[in-house]
């Protein structure tokens, strides 16, 4: 049975975890609370928005993939800048990496050209390149997925 103390503890939990609403139901007991949002940076909730613009990079289909049964532990390397993605140092050279390659932390995976500057993107981990999300010469925006690496 729920007593005041238990309710108080639930409320403290709710506060601690910045919950705005909580509903518990068990063994014939139901507790539902809704708190005022006092935090200044009030939770950024997903917002219903009209037709989204076709962003430059549509949800990316993997360009190359090695093995995908276990995606749970993959490290995804994202683009830290806006620019054009290049897999090789120059058009005639071999790509820095291919799917299936083993790479070491700090190893160059690709180049992103922005304002005529070639920015090398390094691997953040040791591991195996599982997926290369972007095709050579394609534009990428901030936060776009570039590589998936299994550590």
């Amino acid at each position: 049975m729920m007593n005041l103390d238990e309710i108080r503890r639930v409320l403290e939990l709710a506060e601690e975890h910045s919950l705005l609403e909580l509903e518990v139901e068990q063994e014939g007991i139901r507790l539902r609370i809704k708190r005022a949002d006092l935090s200044p940076q009030a939770s950024v909730s997903p917002v219903p928005v009209p037709e989204l613009a076709s962003t430059v990079a549509e949800p990316l289909k993997p360009v190359a993939e090695a093995d995908t049964d276990d995606t749970s532990k993959l490290v995804v390397i994202k683009s830290p800048i806006v620019g054009t993605f290049f897999r090789a140092p120059d058009p005639k050279a071999k790509p820095f990496v291919e799917a299936g390659d083993t790479v070491g932390r700090g190893q160059v995976l690709c180049i992103i050209e922005a304002m005529k500057l070639m920015n090398e993107i390094d691997s953040e981990v040791d591991g195996e390149v599982v997926t290369i999300f972007v095709e050579n010469g394609q534009p990428v925006q901030y936060g776009d997925q570039l590589f998936a690496i299994r550590p």
Partner: protein, 456 residues
């Protein structure tokens, strides 16, 4: 005409530029920071590029990211809006180097106007009255003393790199001078990266009058009349209107002519605003020129019927102005209230999710906003949520319409400055048009007193 324009901004002004582009049949590219992913300017642009994380310095102020976005989307022009990079001569130069037309003045003019001390000298040379002051940056305390001896108090220190009301420090006596000099330099350095400050005579009670200019690339220059922006809190404009009740037609023509001459003297291009202080004897003193679109441009659009943003784009595309000065006709009166996500008493920002957003339109009301039910007011950026603009046959109709619109506005989830605007719109001095830049100080003191009295 351009095929595709990148809008290097966010919020209501990004949407405003999208409106203009759509009306001209130009494709748009939005840029956005990760937290702005669901923003309307992203949704309503034809393309959108994420240029960085939430902090402005990493996204909307990030020149390489903006330029890269422009290059990968293949735009032929860039509109900077206001704020952010809009006064960055560097961005304008990079655009030029990348063969992207920057929709604004030439980088040289931007640099000139960006250095307030130089702009002041240039205007003086062009025959525009400026307030007495130092002839350039004040480099030492000794120099400050000498100038103060010469001019007398009150004086004001201004950062040469300042603007938008930041980096100002009033001095009323020799005792205050040294501290003021050192803190002004320190503030300027912190805020703008350049510690240069200059001294100017300070007018305690003056009206802030600014003149909107359009100049094409073939020597055509017109002014669209003045805006009065004296309702300011700490040099931040709250309410703007056009025309100013303090001007006569004769004065309007005179200051208009002054501004056109000045714009021609510095070979000004595109849209710009020349700001003046007007003392109680109706003398105009140039204070600064804003080489960009301004927040309050809609009041001028309402009374002239001229779409300033579309004109900016047409000018940048090399078109001649389609009208001459005598083709610019004013009708009625327009007022703008800036609705900020702030506590109306403390001005503490109030970011959050807007649950309800309903501002009814009806006759004479224009609403420029990025807000809608369910949208987030980000803590990262400016607190301006909406601009409510009221147009009427005369000032009293414009005020009545503004009051009606604000009284019937329902915005829930965040606090806004609407209650403050409602109170100002009922103030007898405001209604009579008898005010200057000291209005808000007095008004606020009285408002707080009344509030406290009520609370007791």
């Amino acid at each position: 005409m351009f095929k595709k324009i990148l809008i290097a901004n966010r919020g209501e002004i990004a949407l405003r530029v999208i409106h203009a582009c759509r009306e001209l049949g130009i494709h748009t590219v939005a840029v956005y920071s990760s937290p702005d992913e669901d923003a309307l300017h992203v949704g309503f642009a034809d393309e959108a590029v994420c240029i960085g994380p939430g902090r402005s310095i990493d996204s909307y102020l990030n020149v390489p990211a903006v330029i890269s976005a422009a290059e990968i989307t293949g735009v032929d022009a860039l509109h900077p809006g206001y704020g952010f990079l809009s006064e960055s001569a560097y961005l304008a130069e990079v655009c030029e180097a990348c063969d992207i037309k920057f929709i604004g003045p030439d980088p040289t003019v931007m640099r000139l106007m960006g250095d307030k001390a130089r702009a002041r000298r240039a205007m003086k040379k062009a025959g525009v009255k400026v307030l007495a002051g130092s002839d350039g940056p004040v480099d030492s305390f000794e120099q400050a003393i000498a100038i103060a001896r010469d001019l007398g108090f009150p004086l004001i220190f201004k950062a040469t790199a300042g603007g938008g009301g930041r980096g100002l420090r009033v001095v009323r006596s020799f005792q205050e001078l040294e501290v003021a000099f050192r803190t002004a330099r320190h503030e300027a350095e912190t805020a703008f990266g350049i510690r240069d400050v200059y001294l100017e005579k300070f007018i305690e009670a003056s009206r802030h009058i600014e003149v909107q200019v359009l100049a094409d690339e073939h020597g055509g220059v017109v002014h669209l009349g003045e805006r009065e922006c004296s309702i300011q809190r700490r040099h931040q404009k709250l309410i703007e209107e056009a025309p100013s009740v303090a001007l006569t037609d004769r004065l309007r023509r005179k200051i208009g002519k002054t501004v056109i001459d000045a714009a021609k003297a510095v070979q000004y291009r595109n849209a710009g605003t020349f700001e003046f202080l007007m003392d109680h004897k109706r003398n105009f003193y140039f204070i600064e020129a804003n080489a960009r679109l301004q927040v309050e441009h809609p009041v001028t659009e309402m009374i002239t019927g001229i779409d300033i943003v579309k004109e900016q784009i047409r000018i940048a595309a090399g078109e001649r102005l389609a009208f001459k000065q005598r083709g610019v006709k004013q009708r009625g009166h327009a007022i703008e209230c800036r609705v900020n996500a702030e506590n109306p008493n403390t001005f503490v920002p109030s970011p959050g999710v807007i649950d309800t957003f309903n501002v009814l339109g009806g006759p004479g009301i224009r609403l420029d906003t990025y807000a809608h039910a369910g949208c987030t007011v980000s803590p990262f950026y400016d607190s301006l949520v909406a601009k409510v603009i009221a147009h009427g046959r005369d000032r009293s109709e414009a005020i009545a319409r503004m009051r009606r619109a604000l009284d019937m506005a329902v915005i829930e989830g965040i606090e806004t400055t609407i209650p403050l605007h409602q109170a100002i719109l009922k103030d007898p001095a405001f209604i009579a048009g008898e005010f200057d830049t000291t209005f808000m100080e007095r008004f606020q003191a009285e408002w707080q007193r009344k509030r406290l009295a009520k609370a007791v």
